[in-house]
Symmetry: C2
């Protein structure tokens, strides 16, 4: 009864290490065994996307990988970045579902609560997350001094993230969105949820759930009672 | 690795037939085998919720079932109705996640597109769906002449639903929400998606995906590359 779907996942930074490349895919496969994830990364951007210019440079590369995935027959494409780079463009050109980690996390948050807090890593809240949340976005924050995911892996970085999280919680939020996939890498959602006592949405897991939902739904057949 | 979670599901109308009672639960279990769903229904409301008064009468009954489920140790509670009756109230009183089919479907829609069309059955768009979608709600409609799910099971009822769907599609929507679980009963999402060529979100499947996401995420452990 249960079939496995192959999904293409785009990493928006250049990664030579296979294990790092496959990390987000493995998080999704572990959470949702019905999904098999093939990961690829864009070339020549070892620092990934960190401002508008680097995003513009990355977009055509992301789009090319997405099209390549579709041609190879995957059932959906995940763009594994909370800023949803090239997601709109890819939706226009592809026939299969295109899922962005940012819109996936923001949208799922609205299924858990009304007042959403966004925990960023280094940047401000991505535009796509603001767009999805609209008036439900009630608080934003980020850890002081953290410059990248490596910082987040240190004790002081994690402490800074916990402090920023606690600050959001004083603002009456009833759900938290982690607005950077760097949080997924260190499994911060679980730590955060233990502290927060409210749901905390991990962007990579959210992308997996949103992908699984649309693919599973297509298997549906009418039940005649 | 894969563990099964028991989830309580509240049907918001009185059903004596076991098969009908378990129908939504079975849709969720078929889509997401990691979830085991126990269904219960409110008493003394064979016509379910059809206006504000019947909703107010139903709310304390829904809340009581939700609390009962939590006491028995389920991992989450699903209120299987697109109007999310008593969902807010239950979230205040329960410690486990409470998922409403309406907010689940509306929120997932935002992960698939910006401009959302809502296909109702007999009522207007539920308030909770309007709240979640905000300015993303661009079109609403319902099948002419259809008074209940039984009508929808007839050839003419289905034809009316297809007509209403096609009408929404002329309004530039890029995703459709089915805003009544009656559509889930007849597997309308699959029919609709074949016609629409855009994602169509089924409220019962959506509730399952949203529930699975939050429970799976809690299993997460940090991956140290």
């Amino acid at each position: 009864m249960s079939m496995r779907y192959t999904v293409g996942l785009v990493r928006v930074l250049t990664l030579r290490d296979e294990e790092l490349l496959n990390l987000h895919g493995r998080i999704i496969e572990n959470a949702f065994p019905d999904l098999r994830v093939v990961s690829r990364c864009i070339e020549d951007q070892p620092k990934g996307i960190y401002d508008l210019e680097s995003e513009e440079i990355a977009k055509p590369k992301i789009l090319r990988l997405a099209k390549e995935f579709e041609k190879e027959g995957v059932k959906a494409v995940v763009i594994s970045c909370a800023a949803d780079p090239a997601v709109r463009e890819a939706r226009k050109e592809l026939r299969i579902p295109v899922i962005g980690a940012g819109s996936a996390a923001a949208s799922l948050a609205l299924a858990y609560g009304d007042k959403v807090g966004v925990l960023n890593l280094t940047e401000d809240t991505p535009k796509v997350i603001k767009d999805v949340l609209g008036s439900h976005l009630v608080a934003e924050g980020k850890p002081e001094g953290v410059r990248n995911t490596l910082d987040l892996m240190t004790d002081w970085g994690r402490a800074a993230a916990v402090k920023a999280l606690k600050n959001l919680l004083t603002r009456g939020v009833d759900v938290i969105v982690l607005a950077c996939t760097g949080y997924s890498t260190i499994g911060f959602a679980k730590i955060a949820e233990d502290i927060a006592g409210v749901p905390v949405v991990d962007p990579v897991v959210a992308a997996g759930a949103v992908t699984l939902n649309i693919l599973k739904q297509r298997e549906l057949r009418g039940v005649t009672g």
